[in-house]
């Protein structure tokens, strides 16, 4: 863990040895390594370590009784501050149904999350409605319909012959007619560099005017987290992040990267394959695991 590493670094200086500013520099190197090993993106790490270093110098950590612990405390605080407040869903405005679009890379967990989110919404007293707008992946519509039936949530699908834009528009209409409070639109996984598919997302957004566009991202994402989040944000403007597969042992540094480059809150965590594997995000859930 980072604490152990810093402990070792400072212990190695020998008993009674005075810690100097160079030793703090070495400690910052340890922090940098720990964050990179946790998959935080390099540019984000550099920036983050810069801030921690400033605070460490400012706090005169080299004069502290326990410099290693002091630094860990600073890193912890900076991480928590960066990860930010648990995000809430934004349902301001009276037009119902409020539309939530789920977007992201292939296989990140959107369709499964659409189900989980619907269940969560219903528990919160907001009647959900699901729309199967992925016409590309084989059996994607079947997957969403199966999930919708499992959790007893009404849905709209039009097979795979119509355009996703048309299905989304009709889906929101159907949700309105069903008196639903929130309409969750599942979209096909796509690369942020695929202009045609990113345009499709823009068109869906234009037509359904979503209250939320949530980027569903895999907690084990590596260095490309920055480009992925930026790509989706620049194209359609995301309003929140959902980090999935947190039940694995990936350190989850991608969360920091995505949060920093989009300045968008992390709203939920996916914690299992089941429909109840869904939690409201809280920074404590991630700070410890990122630091290892």
């Amino acid at each position: 863990t980072l604490s152990q590493r810093l402990q070792d670094t400072f212990d190695a200086l020998g008993r009674g040895g005075k810690v100097n500013e160079n030793d703090v520099k070495n400690a910052m190197r340890q922090v940098r390594m720990a964050l990179l090993e946790a998959d935080v993106a390099l540019p984000v790490v550099k920036d983050f370590v810069g801030r921690v270093s400033e605070r460490a110098v400012g706090a005169e950590v080299h004069k502290a009784l326990r410099p290693g612990q002091q630094i860990v405390k600073i890193v912890h605080e900076e991480l928590a501050a960066t990860l930010g407040e648990p995000g809430r869903l934004n349902f301001s405005g009276s037009t119902k149904p409020h539309v939530i679009m789920l977007v992201g890379l292939q296989g990140s967990g959107k369709t499964t999350t659409a189900g989980k989110l619907s269940l969560y919404l219903r528990r919160e007293g907001r009647q959900p409605f699901l729309v199967a707008a992925d016409t590309y992946r084989p059996a994607a519509v079947d997957q969403l319909v199966t999930i919708a039936k499992q959790i007893n949530v009404p849905y709209h699908e039009q097979g795979t012959d119509k355009s996703p834009v048309e299905i989304a528009v009709n889906g929101v209409k159907a949700a309105k007619e069903a008196g639903a409070a929130v309409c969750v639109v599942d979209t096909a996984g796509r690369l942020q560099i695929d202009e045609t598919l990113m345009d499709e997302l823009k068109r869906i957004k234009e037509k359904v005017n979503p209250a939320e566009i949530l980027l569903v991202a895999d907690a084990m994402t590596g260095q490309e987290a920055v480009n992925i989040a930026t790509g989706f944000n620049d194209a359609v403007g995301i309003t929140g992040l959902i980090l999935t597969k947190i039940d694995g042992d990936a350190r989850g540094g991608a969360a920091i990267s995505m949060r920093i480059v989009t300045d968008v809150p992390i709203k939920f965590l996916g914690t299992s394959e089941k429909m109840d594997g869904f939690e409201i995000f809280h920074p404590d859930r991630l700070t410890d695991r990122i630091l290892g």
Partner: protein
């Protein structure tokens, strides 16, 4: 980035940045750079050549899959959720069938919604029969039935799709070990290949995934998917070096032709694109 003048600290930083951002990981990157620094190179172009050479020397062209010379060969496909197993099976079946092999698929993901439907659609797409039971039935039983069907109908390769699972879930890893065991009971020596499908966008956790899957079910090779995106797939270096797992194929898209044989030269070159 490299011209024809001397090598500055900034150049070393640039190289470090490229490798780290390609998901090679801190340890692999530092080891590589230390090794390069100790070579006493003075010119930038020489460094360029040495760097690529070092990277390439860490990889190998894969051997062919062990699916010939017997009545029936079984390939078990495994990996964490959403990595691209089912899609890769479609692509692999297509490749093998282009090579005139008779391929059958087994839908042993009986858990996830529409997993069986998805594999059946792929089977239709590439022209391979799919053996399946009901959803939520025993995956090992599907393997058993599929093996019997393959033998009876003279199919030479059976590819088994399994449910995605996190290597941290002990029960699911046990289930996978059991599926592996069952295939060995019906065909001695099976499975002849256990291919781990790794999502190319994954960071350092890929090594952990590979370690655990290898430990629990003796993975024999790797497929890395989704490298048509911006990720470079650098975790391949540690997976290959630490675990000696050959990287057989790279997924470059969602269609049945979007998978290529792993090529160390092309792979290394793309790190610098």
């Amino acid at each position: 980035m490299l011209g024809s003048s001397e090598i500055t600290d900034e150049i070393w930083d640039d190289i470090e940045a490229i490798l780290i951002q390609a998901d090679l990981g801190v340890n692999t990157t530092l080891t590589l750079i230390d090794d390069l620094r100790s070579q006493g190179i003075t010119k930038q172009e020489e460094l360029q050549v040495a760097l690529r050479g070092s990277l390439q020397s860490l990889l190998q062209f894969p051997p062919p899959l062990d699916v010939s010379g017997r009545e029936l060969s079984i390939i078990l496909v495994v990996g964490v959720n959403g990595s691209g197993k089912t899609t890769s099976i479609g692509k692999l079946a297509h490749r093998l069938m282009l090579g005139r092999r008779k391929v059958m698929l087994a839908a042993a993901d009986t858990f996830r919604a529409a997993a069986i439907d998805q594999l059946k659609l792929w089977g239709e797409r590439v022209g391979a029969p799919v053996i399946a039971n009901k959803p939520n039935s025993d995956p090992a039983a599907v393997v058993y039935d599929a093996t019997a069907a393959a033998k009876a109908r003279g199919y030479e390769i059976l590819i088994v799709d399994t449910a995605g699972r996190l290597h941290t879930n002990y029960n699911l890893m046990e289930e996978l070990a059991k599926i592996r065991q069952v295939s060995g009971k019906v065909v001695p020596g099976a499975p002849h290949e256990v291919l781990l499908v790794l999502d190319g966008t994954t960071g350092q956790n890929a090594l952990q995934q590979a370690k655990k899957f290898k430990e629990m079910i003796d993975v024999t090779g790797v497929i890395v998917t989704k490298l048509d995106g911006t990720p470079k797939g650098g975790m391949v270096f540690s997976v290959f070096n630490d675990l000696q797992l050959p990287v057989h194929y790279v997924g470059l898209g969602e269609g049945m032709d979007d998978m290529v044989l792993f090529n160390p030269e092309i792979f290394v070159k793309s790190l610098f694109d």
